[in-house]
Each structure stands twice: as structure tokens, then as C-alpha cells.
């Protein structure tokens, strides 16, 4: 492709441009990710929120080039990344070898299940060591020394023993710390965390989140935090992306998300959170969102959320597809009726 390729604005670290991922399932085409665009700057934490099936995990995987193109999988769009070693690249267009240089080095990812994210047949030291030696030219002993330092910094008690242990001998929280150590071993500029605390209990959750925040302060690393837990989002994210049925439906600084959501779906999500200060507490059920996530092979006409939306209007919401429009500073929403409604005010 000749001509001027669009390039990153000076302060952006990563820019996703119209990402689309679709799979063939049986006889239909399923659009898992449908035109997602956003950018993230150094030192920033961006949360991607949505129910399961919203396409948030797929977006994360696609950003690492972990979704492989095949006869049944199609990816399009661009994921522009500023490399550590100067220059830019489009992750989706990299060759295998170049992609391997980016993964673990420029961008790292941690996953949801610490139980099965680590290879059961290798010791912790070997697995962290592998990550180090893939991108840095050091010997085995030096890699182990670096791994030890990493574990110490992450507050792992008795790090020497941890290095020689096997995954099944560690607790869930410890394993996740090891995963973080692996991810950070080559000082990536971006960390993608896919539900890293969902499988952990609440106290450990808090520790892990604290850890990530500390590291970010020290190194200026950007974090993309994928989760369905709005509580976590409120604690750590600067900006939030809300996804529904493969699309971004609201993009806003986190504070404003909680105070004044403009997308009915976001408001509904907030209402379904159990809250201690709610007068409706005694004897009332949680306000779950009626209906269920649309079948990805057969999305509804018009706005994909309209069948479940309290504010949908016949003729407007089930006709054309809404696009993302600006509804405030730094605030995008995908709704035709944003001017007329205040979904956050309903109580």
C-alpha cells in the first residue's frame, strides 16, 4: 500500500482503528468485534467493560495478534503501535518473526485463569526465564537472577523458593503475581490485562490491583484492563470503554461514567450493581437487565441494544444503525436519543 499511511499522534502509544473480527460458526458468520476504535497514551489506564460475549476479550487478543487468520477467521482494521525501539508498526500486518518480537517485549498480556495459564511441567523460574531470554541476550543464570529481582519487587514472600516451585504448588494469588512477573520481565510499554482478578478472592484482588497501580507509577506503563466488574473499573481506570455486542457503545473518563452515563446500557449496568447505600436494599431484587445478549450471528436491526432498552422508540431505534457521536468533552456515545434522555438519573 503506497501513499501516506496514517500514523500515530505524538502522545498516543497505541491506536486501534476500525478493528473487525469475525468467525464462521456452522453456517453463519459471527461478528465478534464490529468496528472498534480507540487509542491509549503512556501511563494511562483504559478499562474495557462489557458482559461476556461483548467482544472485549477478542479485542484484547486481536491487539496482540493472537487471533490467527484462517479459513474461518477474518480480521481487518489496524492496530498501530509505537515500538520501544523507535518507529511504529501495525500489529495486524506484522510477519510472524516481527510479531514475536513485539509480544512480551513491547506489549504484554495477562489472562484470567491463573490456574491454567502456567505450564504445569516447568518450574516458575524456567517460565519467567523463558520470557526474559526470548527478548534479551542473557544466559540462563542471569535470567534467573533477574527473575528473582522481579519476584521480590512484586512482593512475593520467599522468592527463592518460588523460583524452584511448580505452578500446582502455588496459590491463585501467587500464580497471578508470577504471570505479572512474566508480563513485566521485559518492561513492556503496554500491558493488556484480561480479567486478571476475576478468578481470585476479594482480598487478593485488592492486592493485585494495588500492585499494578504501583508498577504503573514507577514505569509509566499503559494498562488496558478488560473486565465485567464495574467496581474494579472505578478503582483503577482513567478512561472507560463500554462494549456491547461487538461494538463500543460509550467511551468516557471514568468519573463521568459513574456520574452521568449517557448510554442506556451503561446506566443499566450501573443499576445492576449491588450497592450498600441504596434505599431499595431491603427485600428488593437486583435490577437485572431484562433479555439477553443478542445472538452474534443474528444481531437485531438498528441499535443492537434496543430490544432490552427502556428508552427505545419505535421507528428511531430499530431502523438505522447508530454511530458514535460526541456528547461532551472526551465523551462518545452510540445512541440516537442521547440528547433527550438521562438514563443515569432513573433511580
Amino acid at each position: 500500500m503506497s501513499g501516506l499511511a496514517p500514523s500515530l499522534p505524538p502522545q498516543a502509544l497505541l491506536e486501534v482503528d476500525n478493528l473487525e473480527v469475525s468467525f464462521v460458526a456452522g453456517s453463519r458468520i459471527v461478528q465478534a468485534v464490529n468496528g472498534v476504535s480507540f487509542s491509549i497514551a503512556s501511563g494511562e489506564t483504559l478499562a474495557i467493560v462489557g458482559e461476556s460475549g461483548s467482544g472485549k476479550s477478542t479485542t484484547g487478543l486481536a491487539m496482540m495478534g493472537l487471533i490467527q487468520r484462517s479459513a474461518t477467521t477474518a480480521i481487518s482494521g489496524e492496530v498501530r503501535l509505537r515500538r520501544k525501539a523507535d518507529g511504529e508498526c501495525d500489529v495486524l500486518k506484522l510477519s510472524g518473526r516481527e510479531l514475536r518480537k513485539v509480544r512480551g517485549n513491547d506489549v504484554a498480556m495477562i489472562f484470567q485463569e491463573p490456574m491454567s495459564s502456567l505450564n504445569p511441567v516447568y518450574s516458575i523460574g524456567a517460565q519467567i526465564g523463558e520470557a526474559i531470554r526470548l527478548h534479551q541476550h542473557v544466559g540462563r543464570a542471569e535470567a534467573q537472577a533477574k527473575a528473582l529481582v522481579l519476584l521480590k519487587d512484586l512482593g512475593v514472600p520467599n522468592p527463592e523458593k518460588c523460583l524452584t516451585s511448580y505452578p500446582h504448588q502455588l496459590s491463585g494469588g501467587m500464580r497471578q503475581r508470577v504471570m505479572i512477573a512474566i508480563a513485566l520481565s521485559c518492561e513492556p510499554s503496554l500491558l493488556i490485562a484480561d480479567e486478571p482478578t476475576t478468578a481470585l478472592d476479594v482480598t487478593v484482588q485488592a492486592q493485585i490491583l494495588d500492585l499494578l497501580a504501583t508498577i504503573q507509577r514507577k514505569t509509566g506503563m499503559a494498562i488496558i484492563f478488560i473486565t465485567h466488574n464495574l467496581g474494579v473499573v472505578s478503582l483503577i481506570a482513567d478512561r472507560t470503554l463500554v462494549m456491547y455486542a461487538g461494538q463500543v457503545v460509550e467511551q468516557v473518563p471514568t468519573g463521568e461514567l459513574f456520574e452521568r452515563p449517557r448510554m442506556p446500557y451503561t446506566a443499566a449496568l450501573l443499576r445492576s450493581l449491588p450497592r450498600l447505600d441504596n434505599e431499595r436494599l431491603a427485600g428488593e431484587r437486583l435490577a437485572a437487565i431484562p433479555g439477553s445478549v443478542p445472538n452474534a450471528g443474528h444481531p437485531p436491526d438498528g441499535c443492537r441494544f434496543h430490544p432490552r432498552c427502556d428508552y427505545s422508540v419505535e421507528g428511531i431505534c430499530n431502523g438505522e444503525r447508530p454511530g458514535l457521536t460526541a456528547c461532551g468533552t472526551d465523551h462518545l456515545v452510540r445512541c440516537f436519543r442521547w440528547r433527550e434522555i438521562e438514563p443515569g438519573a432513573a433511580a
Binding site: K101, N105, L118, A131, H168, I182
Partner: protein, 312 residues
């Protein structure tokens, strides 16, 4: 761990004893006296009785068994009826041949199954070929494979010899050259069986999250295949291989016959044809003991190699 091994060992001994007793008794009762076998059915009852007395076949079976066991433990397995050689000697010279054939065959089968099914690149070309070979190996009887190989490589192309054994003294090259066809023949079935198990384990391993973690670290597909998936998928294959060593004897019997190899298998077949009772019994016992021992080793090996069991 150690206590477990010892317990298994202690369990193995009575197992062997029970099996050898069963073998001895069934052979004795079903064969009538070996003397009638040796002399033929037309022999006079008197001649049979004389021979019985001479060999002690007229004693109660239990006594015969204890006597046999006692002698066997000291290395005296009697003399062959046909060649008059001590059975122990025949076995001692035949055993290494069979063991070499067996180990090479299993080794080849394991190696081929693992390597050929692990290669990530060119899977579209390699996999159907491997599956076809697997099916051929499982469906075609040993001897058919052997005969086809001989026909193609020996008779027609003249590349390889049609017998399976020359002693090491004839030179390592020649020795191994003669072994190629029999080893391939014997390993064919196991290549198929091991491939099936391995592919299933591999498919399961690839669904695990640690594969994704490895890719996210920047490991290449080949690295993922051989360093991450393989170690997790290979264990059941190894165990299966260990357990197959016992079954292998059956295959070895046929292979040694096709390729005229002086191993235990051919010794056994010869003893059957010649009604050579001591040899038959000795080889049968050997097989029984061998199978129990191999199972034991495979079981121990599995526990040792699997870190989850080893470290608890």
C-alpha cells in the same frame, strides 16, 4: 514415593507366582503327559510310562511345579526335548535378539509418533499422510507388512536384505542394515496406536491457557509445539509405550518368523511345532514375568516423571 514403589514390587511377586502356577497347571492338565506328546500318539502305554518315570512326570502336578520352580530359580530350566541343549542357554542367546528388536521398534514408533504429529508447519500436507500410515499400520497384520516390505525393498529394489539378523561381529553397519526392515515392520502398528493417543493429548493440550501465555510471551509456533505442548502431551504416550512392551512379544513372534531372526519368538514357535515342552514352558514363564515387570516399570516411571505426583 519409595514406600509406594516397594509396595508395588511386593505385589508383583505373588502376581508372578500365581500366573506361573496357572500356566504350569494348565499346560500339564491339557497336554496330558509330555511323554505322550514326545513319543507320539501311537506309542505304547508302556513306553510312555517308562518315559514318565524317567522324567518324573508321574509325580503329582504340585510336586512337579515346586521342583520346576526350584530349579528355575537357580537357572536350570531343563533341557530341550529336541536339541538336548539346556533351555537356559537357548534363551540366553535368543533374548538379546528379541530385546534389541523390541526396543528399537518401540523407540522408532514413539519417536515417529511424537515428532511427526508435533510439527506445526506443513500440517496440511503431513497430517493426512501420517493418518494414512497410521491406519495402514493398525489394519495390516504384521506379517503382511513384513512381506510387502521384503518384496519391495529386497526382491525388487535389492536395497535391503531379507533376513533380520547378523551378529555384531559382522560389523555395525551390516548388523543395523539387516535390522531396518524388521524394526519398521514391528513398529508399524505401534506407530499407529501411539499417534492416535498423542494426537488426542495434543489437541487437549492446545486448548489450555498456557499455550496462549507462551504465544503472548513471543514464543514461536515451533517453540509452542515442542517446548510447551509436547511435554504435557507426551506422558500418556510414554506410559502406553511401556505397557505395550508386553504386547510386543506377540508381534515379535511373527516378525522374527518372517525375517528368520534367532530370537525368543522364533524359539517359541519352533518349540510349539516340535512339541518341546521345557522350552515352551520356559518361554511362557519368561513372557509372564516380563509383562509384570514392564508394567511395574511403566507405572513407576509415570509417577516419577509427572511432577504433580512426584512433589504432591
Amino acid at each position: 514415593m519409595l514406600t509406594l514403589i516397594i509396595r508395588r514390587l511386593l505385589l508383583a511377586i505373588p502376581t508372578i507366582l500365581v500366573l506361573t502356577v496357572l500356566l504350569f497347571f494348565s499346560v500339564s492338565t491339557l497336554l496330558g503327559t509330555p511323554s505322550s506328546m514326545m513319543l507320539g500318539e501311537d506309542a505304547s502305554p508302556q513306553a510312555i510310562a517308562e518315559l514318565n518315570a524317567l522324567y518324573g512326570f508321574d509325580r503329582p502336578v504340585t510336586v512337579q511345579y515346586v521342583d520346576w520352580l526350584h530349579k528355575a530359580l537357580t537357572g536350570d530350566l531343563g533341557r530341550s526335548f529336541t536339541t538336548r541343549d539346556p533351555v537356559a542357554n537357548s534363551i540366553a542367546s535368543a533374548l538379546p535378539v528379541t530385546l534389541e528388536l523390541a526396543f528399537l521398534a518401540i523407540g522408532l514408533a514413539v519417536l515417529a509418533a511424537i515428532v511427526l504429529n508435533s510439527l506445526p508447519s506443513a500440517q496440511r500436507i503431513v497430517r493426512p499422510l501420517v493418518v494414512a500410515l497410521n491406519l495402514a499400520g493398525i489394519a495390516m497384520p504384521n506379517f503382511v507388512i513384513g512381506i510387502v516390505l521384503i518384496f519391495v525393498f529386497s526382491v525388487n529394489l535389492g536395497w535391503l536384505p531379507s533376513t533380520g539378523w547378523v551378529p555384531w561381529s559382522a560389523g555395525i553397519g551390516t548388523h543395523l542394515e539387516h535390522l531396518i526392515l524388521p524394526v519398521v515392520t514391528l513398529s508399524a502398528y505401534y506407530f499407529g496406536a501411539f499417534s492416535l493417543v498423542y494426537r488426542a493429548e495434543l489437541a487437549d493440550a492446545y486448548t489450555k491457557l498456557y499455550i496462549q501465555t507462551a504465544r503472548a510471551k513471543g514464543v514461536s509456533e515451533t517453540g509452542v509445539a515442542f517446548r510447551h505442548a509436547l511435554p504435557n502431551a507426551v506422558l500418556p504416550v510414554i506410559t502406553f509405550a511401556g505397557l505395550s512392551m508386553g504386547q510386543l512379544v506377540g508381534g515379535a513372534v511373527v516378525t522374527e518368523t518372517v525375517f528368520s531372526m534367532p530370537g525368543i519368538g522364533r524359539l517359541f514357535v519352533g518349540s510349539i511345532a516340535g512339541r518341546d515342552y521345557p522350552v515352551m514352558l520356559a518361554v511362557g514363564m519368561l513372557v509372564v514375568v516380563g509383562v509384570v515387570v514392564m508394567n511395574l516399570i511403566a507405572d513407576i516411571l509415570y509417577r516419577v516423571v509427572n511432577p504433580q505426583i512426584r512433589l504432591g
